[in-house]
Amino acid sequence: MSHDWYSDFVNSGVGRAIAGNVGLPPVPKLRRWEPGQPLLSGAALLGTATANGRVAKVVRAVLADAAVEVHEDPAAPIGGGSSTSKVAAAVLDATGLSSPRDLAAVQQFLTPVMRRVGPSGRILVIGDVPAAAERPAVRAARRSLEGLVRSAAKEARYGATVNLVHVADGAENDLESTLRFFLSSRSAFVDGQRLDVGTVPGYAGSSAGTDWDHPVTGKVAVVTGAARGIGRTVAQTLARDGATVVAVDVPSAGDALAHTANDVGGTALQLDITNDGAGEAILEHCRRHGGVDIVVHNAGITRDKLLANQDTDRWNSVIDVNLNSQLAINDVLLASSDDDGFHRGGRIVTVSSMAGIAGNRGQTSYGASKAGVIGLVEATAPLLAAKDATINAVAPGFIETAMTAAMPVGTREAGRRLSSLTQGGLPVDVAETIAWFAQGASYAINGQVLRVDGQNYLGA
């Protein structure tokens, strides 16, 4: 990983003074999660935009369960401070909007909040699903929230994030893992994003009894591409959260893979996921653990070439590893037994990319494969719902890995700074999001693609 010297500089005493005087962008140090950390480092404000809000009650309950001090009167002084004291988070129930005029209430809640949210603070807006509205005025109002949130995220400072959650009708009580993710430091590098909850019908599950410090306890998790990089961190994160990890990578990466597996007390499976029968081989290996609950399709390759110079062998290798292997393995998982195969209530999490959303010069094959992953997620979600299972994707932006360390300095610095959080993410940021999707408590999140990119401006 390449060191971020700029961040060191602007965070040093003299560097901060110089940067402040000449207008260099600051690089906030993001709060990141560790076991035992409280959900929030301070109090939270809770607001409602309309009288018809339907989620404030649930938010109140979750925050109370997490022992967070909640204030619903923005004018009231907090603790020993005043009505302008910093808060760690602000949550707005913006459900029930009936026309764009109602957006003023959203503005009225958020305007003071923008100055009150502290370092690595969290602003979370919860709205209705726009597509579920028939009347144009309602749908317009609901859709407006996205533009508001994405813009506000670009204004937030000191590592604070602003995100939007759409909650389907009837899914109010299925928000707990989502609230906990977006409010906690697990979502440190998720900024300016939108997530839909409860939008794929037929889901089932419960967050009752979840150990939020170890939310995947007792689960068996397969992670492909686990020898190094983000995959290795995903394995470590799932193990930290309580899972038994089966680390998968190509046989030629077997020594690094063994290191990962031994590091997390899991097992190593040397397997080329593009092999015929790869899905069966994974299930066969997992039979020793009694089956599998979580599959993370992390393995991916790049064979970058300008399209003008592309050749089909390179093209196919990228499509095969990044996309076809996932399709084939998912087919095997879907057809497998609930008993010792892919368990009922299982989770598939896959890795898309910013390149799959916005495109990247030299990455037509990679971009195609990663956009394909999004299609795969959307189409597989309803199929998995029949198994009470889910599939979701993360789309990482600029993450500090060996791959980004190999970039030219200019490209790397642009990748880091041209984002709302003015820095590259860490592999653990991607891993935290994957681990959250993998939770049993995330049963109502299906078919979603969430960017973990610090709201990168490239392809925003």
Partner: protein
Amino acid sequence: MASPRRAAVVGANRIPFARSNGAYARASNQDMLTAALDGLVARFGLTEERMGEVVAGAVLKHSRDFNLTREAVLGSRLSAATPTYDVQQACGTGLEAAILVANKIALGQVEVGIAGGVDTTSDAPIAVNDDLREVLLEANRAKSTAGVVKALAGLRPGQIVPEIPANREPRTGMAMGEHAAITAAHWGIERTAQDELTALSHQNLAKAYDAGFFDDLMTPFLGVTKDNNLRADSTVEKLGKLKPVFFPAGGDKAEATMTAGNSTPLTDGAATVLLASDEWAAERGLPVLAHLVDAETAAVDYVHGDEGLLMAPAYAVPRLLERNGLTLQDFDLYEIHEAFASTVLATLAAWESPQFCKERLGLDAPLGSIDRGKLNVHGSSLAAGHPFAATGARIVPTLAKTLHQNGGGRGLISICAAGGQGVVAILEA
């Protein structure tokens, strides 16, 4: 007494074997054995697990490595509460280690154990010669400075020549290849037959790699992902161009048959195999690849007698067959260690010879021939290389996995060893 249970071969891990003074030149036996153990730990999720025992050894060993296996275990991810011991039976070490662990499992003394072997001819121990050693020991024993000075005064320039271990029999002074050349000549083993066996070994090993056979038997080490002695394009024609390197003492050099191609090269590497009771495997949902049924070790007098140095397996196998009520043909697979192609062929010739079987083995009829299509089907030492002590722990899982893949069957393992010894065993799946 109730018949003891049979130990199960559950799985294995080895590092790819590398030709001497190459990729692993700077790796020690302890490094390689630790890496092989850690790969096994990863494959079977054994981090911090206490094994009943780990038994392994090396043929070429530094004096500091008196507790080689224990040191490797302490450096591995196994529980430090795992007991170990070292064994050394030349090229039979790996198989003998497996037999020892299996026997303890069979008797119920342990539920699970790891057998292994490792060797490096690159990081070989170099000793001071005996003259110098005596001078230094005398100096060490001296009680006064004057005594030390007096002892050291005995130093002579010639004494600094170190002793480098060589692949030679101490009692005959002959290289193992020279011994094998005598045996090859005795049995009239032809050059072409040796080259054919060699080419087949390479081709079979290459096919096994292509089929992913080693994906769950091996973990890369120091950037090596395959046995680097393997020549997938090996042919009888190419092998036929090599000049002989081993000659029978007093024989006709023009009739020499043994080349660097049809003899195993000096090799570095390590191998481990996981053995357990069926119950232990079942509790963890692990498959049983095969069971170790029985084993036998023999030795021949190659010093004063007239038997070939590497012919002991020819004696061990008939004793093993007799005890198990089997014939040589009652096997689905044969794994005969390819120390030299000629050794394999001389052993087969001996079993086919009525005279040998009658005079040496005391049998009324020869053991007969085997179906060569069942021999070393995934390649053997000529292609993979032969880190002496590791070979047995390479062969046991190779055979066990093949039997398992075939849906069952019986296999014979035969390994010749320096000192005129041979270790053989039966696996069943």
